[in-house]
Symmetry: C2
Subunit: 138 residues, 2 copies
């Protein structure tokens, strides 16, 4: 339909937030292309991200704005925001320091499903910092 075609082919940014008011945002390292994490934004978080240049998400568990790095110090500088065809998902190309995941890894995706299984995981990364130590400092 015409409306869909505008969304897909047009150059107006009309992000489609879900029924919960949120849009999915993927943070991808602008240098290495590694996917670091997936989080969510409400309209305010998205506006703040675009206007300040630092990634701001909406925490679904804490139900409030989450200025990435406010506790951990691991700020994400946003170089580019990409949007997909139906405008319901974003990619933030970010530059970051070491240790983006609160568990201690650079990326939240530090495990893969073990080949030939449907229920086992294999580690594919090593921790780059000790979160207990890092959060104690604050």
């Amino acid at each position: 339909v015409a409306a869909d075609k505008n969304i897909e082919e047009g150059l107006a940014f009309v992000p489609k937030f879900g029924p919960d008011g949120l849009i999915t945002a993927i943070a991808q390292d602008d240098v290495t292309a590694q996917v670091l994490m997936v989080a969510y934004m409400n309209d305010e978080a998205l506006k703040l991200t675009l206007t300040t240049g630092n990634a701001v998400y909406f925490s679904r568990s804490r139900k409030k704005l989450w200025r990435k790095g406010e506790e951990s110090g691991h700020v994400q500088k946003v170089k580019e925001v990409l949007v997909d065809c139906d405008q319901d998902c974003l990619i933030l190309k970010v530059t970051v320091d070491q240790g983006q995941c609160h568990v201690g890894y650079q990326s939240c995706f530090y495990r893969k499903v073990t080949s030939g299984t449907t229920d086992k995981l294999t580690l594919v990364a090593e921790k780059v910092y000790d979160p207990a130590e890092a959060y104690r400092k604050k």
Copy 2:
């Protein structure tokens, strides 16, 4: 809490589907690291993906299994499935042919928010095929 720690640090794959029974899945090119698309899987789609080695999603609009490539021919061969810390998001590392997005681009993320604006988009890619032509052939 202990349960969270098992999910984050454990090696059991216990994917957390949302209230709608779906989990977010990012398809990332295994060779170029480009993010191609974001889609959703129910338990059956995930099991089929892991056991067949071809990406199978659940189409939210059509409300049924979507064997990627069944109409377009653009199958995704799955090399690896990564899961994030809280196990509510997956990355499929895939090998693909040209033209993964139905609009005609290689990736669904063919536009970026124009620098200095919050409502305009700039194209960042060129079409790699003509979808009208491709779907007419079927």
